[in-house]
């Protein structure tokens, strides 16, 4: 079976060898620019020509389903809009605060990529997990971590979501199942695979029959060349883990253009090589992202396994606040700025009468207040005291060992003061 070029996905011919097709119904991935589905066969009798049947569908425009006119309800639309505005305003405030000396180190801002975060994360339940990279503020916010907690963390205050110990690149929340926040690219992907593994384990070993938690792993184009990415694609497909690999391809890894770093720049095509569908979507359009996300999350929840989604997106700012961003072509920046996801979505909401200008302005005002409040809160919060230094190194502080006097080091009163020698 070779490549089939069709316009309407639902008329895709199913594979002739039905026993080889583990996916009963073809998934549609509405909204995607391109999709490659891969159905893996294990029987040796099938000839090599049939063994890897790849069906390519090119859907150039989003064709709205005839049954519904719009892709979101008013409520959903406003929720998504608010989330995107929160992401944008928060990140702009971070930049301000950084230049005022309120936060330090490496701060990586998400401006321009809001459609990916809002498009995916707003479809999740609280028990689902999100794993990100150092560009994680907005992922945490979308998942439900309060702006106050994130801003305090950035200021290094003890009221931050990680008590000031993590910083910009390590946003964690046990309550909202945000599993980080990782400084080295790629090292979060195995952690996400582990979270998905736990979900499957809970269902199959611990017999929690309704456990259908999914995990989203967000990472960039640079990471897609890293070994951990490929190793995890393999394991996730092998064990059909409920995970979605979301590549936020913003074309640049600091100053390295994706095209200069990658032999085959089309990352979505790498999914089928490992046995999962690969989907490419316009990451500047939150509705398209949302449609693809729905399908991918649905697949994972139904136990059909992982999906690789490549979102073509762009970061309006530099790699981090320390990056002068001189390498990127101003024309390229202008082109993407014209496709600002927030402006696009605002236009969609107004044109389709889902919201009025006034309602959207009210949301923007509300978010301004939320972000201002978070800055105030962070400003007024205390910095960590010395006593916090030695806590949290070990979950069980006996791990510091036994001192010369026979007592556990953690029993030394200087331990709680943070002045003990450990």
């Amino acid at each position: 079976m070779g490549f089939a070029r069709v316009i309407h996905p639902h008329t895709l011919p199913l594979l002739a060898d039905t026993r080889a097709n583990p996916i009963a119904t073809p998934s549609l991935f509405l909204g995607s620019t391109r999709t490659l589905r891969h159905t893996l066969t294990h029987t040796r009798s099938i000839s090599s020509a049939q063994r890897r049947s790849v069906v390519a569908a090119k859907v150039s425009d989003v064709k709205l389903k005839p049954t519904t006119n719009l892709l979101v309800t008013k409520e959903e639309g406003l929720e998504v809009y608010e989330d995107m505005i929160l992401g944008r305003v928060f990140e702009d405030m971070c930049a301000q605060m950084y230049y005022r000396g309120k936060m330090f180190g490496f701060v990586h801002l998400y401006n321009g990529q809001e459609a990916v975060s809002s498009g995916f994360i707003k479809l999740l339940k609280k028990e689902d997990s999100v794993v990100s990279t150092y560009r994680d503020h907005v992922h945490a916010l979308s998942k439900g971590v309060p702006a106050r907690a994130v801003m305090s963390e950035l200021f290094g205050k003890t009221t931050g979501c990680c008590r000031g110990q993590g910083g910009s690149m390590h946003m964690f929340s046990a309550e909202h199942n945000v599993l980080g926040g990782f400084a080295f690219i790629g090292e979060g992907i195995p952690v996400a695979t582990g979270a998905a593994f736990t979900s499957k384990y809970k269902r199959e070993v611990l017999k929690e029959a309704d456990c259908d938690h999914v995990t989203l792993a967000f990472f960039g184009d640079g990471t897609a060349n890293n070994g951990q990415f490929f190793e995890c694609l393999n394991m996730a497909a092998l064990w059909k883990l409920p995970i979605i690999f979301v590549v936020e391809n913003n074309l640049w890894a600091i100053g390295m253009s994706h095209l200069r770093a990658t032999s085959d720049p089309e990352i979505w095509k790498k999914g089928p090589a490992f046995g999962m569908p690969g989907v490419h979507v316009d990451g500047m359009d939150v509705l398209k992202v949302r449609e693809v996300a729905k399908e991918a999350i649905g697949r994972a929840r139904r136990g059909e396994g992982p999906t690789l989604v490549e979102c073509e997106t762009y970061r309006f700012r530099g790699h981090s606040l320390a990056d002068p961003d001189e390498l990127r072509d101003p024309d390229e920046k202008a082109r993407y700025a014209a496709r600002d996801p927030i402006t696009q979505f605002k236009k969609y909401l107004i044109e389709n009468k889902l919201a009025s200008e006034a309602e959207l302005k009210a949301i923007e005002k509300k978010i301004d207040e939320v972000v201002e409040d978070s800055v105030e809160f962070a400003d007024e919060s205390p910095a960590p005291s010395r006593s916090q230094l030695l806590e949290n190194v070990f979950a069980d502080p006996r791990g510091f060992g036994i001192g010369p006097d026979g007592r556990y080091r953690c029993e030394d009163p200087k331990f709680t003061e943070g002045t003990a020698q450990v």
């Binding site: 110990q165 080295f184 695979t193 949290n392 979950a395």
Partner: protein, 405 residues
């Protein structure tokens, strides 16, 4: 990748070094119990549980601190005869008991399932608990270690096996950044109760890459604990303790020790991860050692005793953190220290231990600390050369004689 080495021939050379002077034998650990919060349950033969005794070390019947030959009569202090097994079986017994006790305990690694583990530590477990609980992974150490860490963050308690400890070098990113640091950087929100275990150390002509000692590389990572087992008794006890601990623990096993035989108690017991083990009390010199070198030391001890010396031998067991209480008490008694290890000379466990002892017990020393380590040489394949890279009993004897002059 691995050469499967069953260590068959090795046990014979080690068993000869295991006899101890029974007159000197006594219970270990006399530490003040009220200060320790260790809580392990000792199940008595009648089935009645003894609740969380604080510092219940003495209740654990230390039948024999050194693996004895099967026919050596042990000190008759056990209430029940116990049962005899090999070290790898002791590890499996500990593992199986914990898997039975807690459904969240799972194993992942290469060939741990259907193959039963390259050293048979997980034999039979996949048949009993299924392919998901005893997971055969592809050859991707960094990723499956990271997967274990992610699973631990979400509530499972994985035991990650490195087929050979050396392979864990590929997992260093995950072990250092996530395993060690994640509890801290998340502000205490997520704990990582993983056990990373596997065989390491110099074997019988396994070549440089399969003969690595990773304890020196991992020791600086904040947030992890490292223990090394050396007898079936402490192997089972440490395995159970490591699994029950909420901290990430790296359990170092040795390729040549898997076939050691010992009689261990039938009752359930869990050892303390942070404590050292008194192998042979003495007066003249403190010899600190761990893992396989314990047997070289005991072999040398026989010679030394015949020559009139009285060495005190301590198996430090806990490589990170050090049990400075047991070690300190010994130094305060003998005033001389010899460290015998298989680690490399540079930056090894011995180097750290030397620094820690100097810092804490300098005033008690009558002589400089002597540290015998392996040469800073990639372990050669040739048997003769390999023998010269690790510390041998005659060197230990010579060092003690020098120290006690």
């Amino acid at each position: 990748m691995a050469s499967i080495f069953q260590g068959v021939g090795a046990a014979t050379s080690l068993s000869s070094s295991t006899s101890i002077d029974t007159k000197k034998f006594h219970f270990c650990s006399r530490r003040s119990r009220s200060e320790r919060k260790a809580s392990f349950v000792v199940v008595r033969s009648g089935g009645a549980k003894v609740e969380n005794r604080i510092g219940g070390r003495a209740e654990q019947l230390v039948t024999n601190a050194v693996a004895a030959k099967a026919d050596t009569p042990t000190a008759a202090t056990v209430s029940k005869p116990g049962h005899e097994l090999l070290l790898f079986e002791a590890l499996r017994e500990g593992l199986e008991e914990e898997m039975e006790r807690d459904a969240r305990v799972c194993v992942m690694g290469e060939d741990v399932g259907h193959y039963g583990g390259s050293y048979k530590v997980t034999r039979g477990l996949a048949e009993k608990y299924g392919d998901l609980r005893v997971l055969d992974t592809p050859i991707a150490e960094n990723s499956f270690t990271g997967m274990g860490i992610g699973a631990a963050m979400m509530g499972l308690r994985p035991i990650i096996e490195g087929m050979n400890m050396g392979f864990l070098l590929l997992a260093f990113n995950q072990i250092s950044n996530n395993c060690g640091m994640l509890h801290y950087t998340s502000g205490g929100q997520f704990k990582i109760p993983v056990v990373i275990r596997g065989p390491g150390g110099v074997g019988r002509q396994l070549g440089a890459e399969h003969s690595q000692r990773l304890e020196s590389y991992f020791q600086s990572i904040p947030g992890i604990q490292m223990v090394a087992c050396s007898t079936p008794y402490n192997a089972k006890g440490l395995m159970k303790a490591a699994i029950r601990s909420d901290n990430p623990v790296i359990l170092f096993e040795h390729v040549l020790l898997y076939n050691l035989k010992e009689r261990i108690p039938d009752e359930e017991y869990v050892l303390n991860l942070e404590e050292a083990e008194m192998v042979r009390p003495g007066e003249h010199v403190t010899i600190l050692t761990y893992s396989r070198m314990r047997y070289h030391v005991m072999q040398a001890a026989k010679t030394l005793v015949n020559k009139g010396y009285d060495p005190e031998v301590i198996d430090i067991r806990s490589l990170k953190p050090f049990d400075l209480y047991t070690i300190g008490n010994s130094i305060k008694k003998t005033h001389r220290v010899l460290i015998v290890e298989e680690c490399m000379r540079t930056g090894g466990i011995g180097a750290s231990l030397t620094a820690a002892i100097t810092e804490n017990f300098h005033d008690y020393l009558d002589a400089p600390i002597v540290c015998l380590s392996s040469q800073d040489v990639p372990t050669p394949y040739a048997g003769t050369l390999e023998e010269w890279t690790v510390v041998q009993p005659p060197q230990i004897v010579a060092a003690v004689e020098q120290l006690c002059r």
